[in-house]
Amino acid sequence: MSLWRQITRGLRVLAHRTTADQDVADEVQHYFEQAVAAHAARGLSPGEAARAARLELGSVLGVREQVRGSGWENAIETLFADLRFAVRRLRAEPVFTVVTVLTVALGIGATTAIFSAVNPILFEPLPYPQPDRIATIWEVSSTDGSLNGGTFGMYRGLEERTRSFDAIAVFKPWQPTMTGPDQPERLEGQRVSAQYFRCLGVPPRLGRGLQASDDRLHGPNVVILSDRLWRRRFGGDRSIVGRPITLDGESFAVIGVMPKGFENVLAPAAELWAPLQYDMTQGRAWGHHLRTVARLRPGVSVGQASQEVDLAAHAVLKEQRPETYGEVKFVATALHDDVTRGVGPALLAILGAVVLVLVIACVNVTNLLIARGVRRRGEFALRAALGAGRNRLIRQLLTESLLLAAMGGVVGMAVASLGVRALVVLSPPGLPRVGAIGVDRTVLAFGLVITTLTGLAFGLIPALQAARSDPQRELQEGSRRSAGGHRQARGALVVAEVALALVLLVSAGLLLRSLDHLFAVAVGFDSSNLLTMQVQTSGPRFDAEGSEARFFSQALAAVQRVPGVTAAAFTNQLPLSGDLDEYGAHFEASPARLAESYSAFRYAVSPGYLETMRIPLRRSRLFVETDRAGAPLVAIISESLARLRFRGADPIGQRLRIGPMDGPPYTIVGVVADVRQMSLAVSRAEAVYIPASQWPFADSAMSLVIRGRGDAAALAPAVRAAVWSVDEDQPIVRVAMMDSLLAASQAERRFALILFEVFSLAALLLAAAGIYGVMTGSVAERTREIGIRSALGATRQGILALVIRQGMTLTGVGVAIGAAGAAAATRAIAAMLFGVSRLDPVTYLAVIALLAGVAILACGVPAWRAARVDPASTLRAE
């Protein structure tokens, strides 16, 4: 009822302003007449009565304004009036307006773009029903904390023994080649156990999901398609369900299609899924090439589940693998932790960096507004003298700054949507949820919020300062001689700017030096001019025993015949390519030492691999052609492994088993230098090299490494043709020069570095603009003082030094504060640093020198202008 009255009365006033004003005027008039009449009734003359009433009640106009100004509709009217006035003022100063709007747009745009990239990864819940109930299960090594995804044997054991989960599933990558009427295409997919989609909580939109009956050895060939693949290759044909498609030369029946929005964070590129149909024979149940995901039962926390998993897993190990396992712990972690692991700290650091840029942008705009406020003092004083209250002035100025922020926000959103696109292009391959990055409703809301906040942030200080000034004094003085307070404020802002820019520059510098250090790391082989590619085998023709080995050796022979190729070899895992193949290396007991097991990278290679890679030999010999199937089993180990196991004793002639404890022993015939396998930053290098022909299970994908005369990259087409001359159906992927693999292995750091470089460059420019603005303003205000100084005999150099000293003092204070801030803030990027302390003096000194140089330049122009002041003309001008 009363709300209704509020709204209707307000609207009526807005619609009929004149009538409403007349009503107020009439009522106030009547009130005064009554008052005058009352005084007259006490015997005063009409004139005296009117005077008495005015004395008692104040001015009619004042009362009218007070009554008129109440009610919500008047707040709106004032707002519109303020806005109109603000627009007029900003249009009158186009340069100021454009510079301000662009500065704000840069800050808001960059921040919003980064937020839109960070939000889906760090803050949004994953796109599944009850996403907090999805967990991944890991085997954690007690020696180095490394994570292993789990084994089929453990998956079976946990399924039997745990009660925390509604569903558990294991999965592994799968890259089938689809053939048919169209071009053959290599697809990214997954082999998953039956409960995989139940764990994620997303059923297919067409057809059916996987059933337990699909997932057994020699089970039916069935496949589920992603929406994207379904539309791309089958035109979104709904009758696809039940039809066969050909994958790796075998027929698979399509049983379902996943919904459009289904996002598979566990393997973002996967487009099709087939049952795992795990082969438990051949003792492979305990190989670490699977990952495990599970859905928690309602009411079970991740912590509880984790405890149960550890207990159950150790019970399983005790029963089935009592002797082979080292110290391990089993944990369940929330899927979201899994997604953010690794990238989380880097993303937060980048978000922090961009917020600093936004703050610097705000500081700059604050500076501009204060300078503008100084120019407008006369206007404010006049308005105050005419009766505008302090709050009224503050409101007007805040309206102006919010309008500036809003314009900056609109332009900033355009900047953000461009920035998001650039981010997606730049993003390192390991960045999760790239598909979810974009300008959506959350991002827009974020943009709106920070726009408002920035408007308030850069508007408040100038508004308060303008409203504080004393109108009487201002009008009396009418000149720019009094300038104390705001100059201090602007000085403080420059200090802040320099300090913040320094934090960003130091971070960027540390990252830059880390990358330099990383690329200077000795990788253990010669990475220059080395062509690499992966050759895969697929299809039923490789079912026959030994067929893969035959294919690879024929292909290698063909490649070695290519003119220009000087050396070529195969390996099952290529350093720094993302390949990871780790096995247990079980050393036999020797008189000096007990039997012991270590985890080591397994390289199954063709003879000549170590030579082609130019991995230095440390002891005894490399592989030779006679180390083939049927010959005595031989192995070469890396220095790290030799040191770990033999502590300086001679390893040659000692024996070890690889993988299953009951496998055949290999005799160590040589020791070679360490090689970086996982990344430049990870120095773990325990490795066992064996001839591929002596490994019992053929690897289905091998990497070719090739050296040639001249540019090895130019050999790629001929090498490819040579492989295809043996079998034209075998896909060749990942053709790359080793140097670019090296660079790609640092993609995440490089991504962070690029962003930090961009942000710190922006910060540097903004800080320079800030110093320049303050110094220019200060010189302009002190023209008279400078004129007097030079009239009194100050030299040009003296005046130049005076102005530069003032600017450099501010810079110096900023540098001191910034250095302390950087020492604290670089904690956030500590994880990304390599070979450089976060307090690295070289970086700090270089950054300080850079900032000082820029500051001198920014002071230089105003100082030069000050030195050219003609004393006679300035003194006359006043």
């Binding site: 009439d26 009547h30 104040g58």
Partner: protein
């Protein structure tokens, strides 16, 4: 010399207006006059505050307002208490009495 404070106690103006209007409909000056007289000059009402308050109370639904022609053919705005206004007055009176009594007790209490 100090001027005696004649400001209406903060927060009580609404109650005073409602009480005054509970006797009979009145215009703005009449209300102000009545408050002054009955309070024996302790309270003087500022016209700006009074008229703003009247507008607010009217919007809250506690008063109705109508324009009447005065004897010298001027327009005057008369205010009448509504039923909701009467209820509000009861509430505010009760509240005030309770609080005033508490303040009185506090002031009387011996330190």
């Amino acid at each position: 010399m100090d001027e005696t404070n004649t400001d209406v106690i903060q927060g009580t103006l609404d109650m005073l207006i409602l009480k005054t209007l509970s006797l009979e409909p009145m215009h703005g000056f009449g209300i102000s006059r009545r408050i002054e007289q009955i309070s024996r000059g302790v309270f003087k009402v500022n016209p700006g505050s009074l008229l703003t308050a009247l507008q607010r109370l009217e919007r809250a639904g506690w008063l109705d307002a109508e324009w009447r022609q005065t004897e010298n053919s001027r327009r005057a705005r008369y205010y009448t208490l509504t039923r909701a206004g009467r209820k509000q007055l009861e509430k505010e009176t009760e509240d005030w009495t309770r609080r005033a009594a508490a303040v009185a007790r506090l002031l009387k209490a011996e330190g």
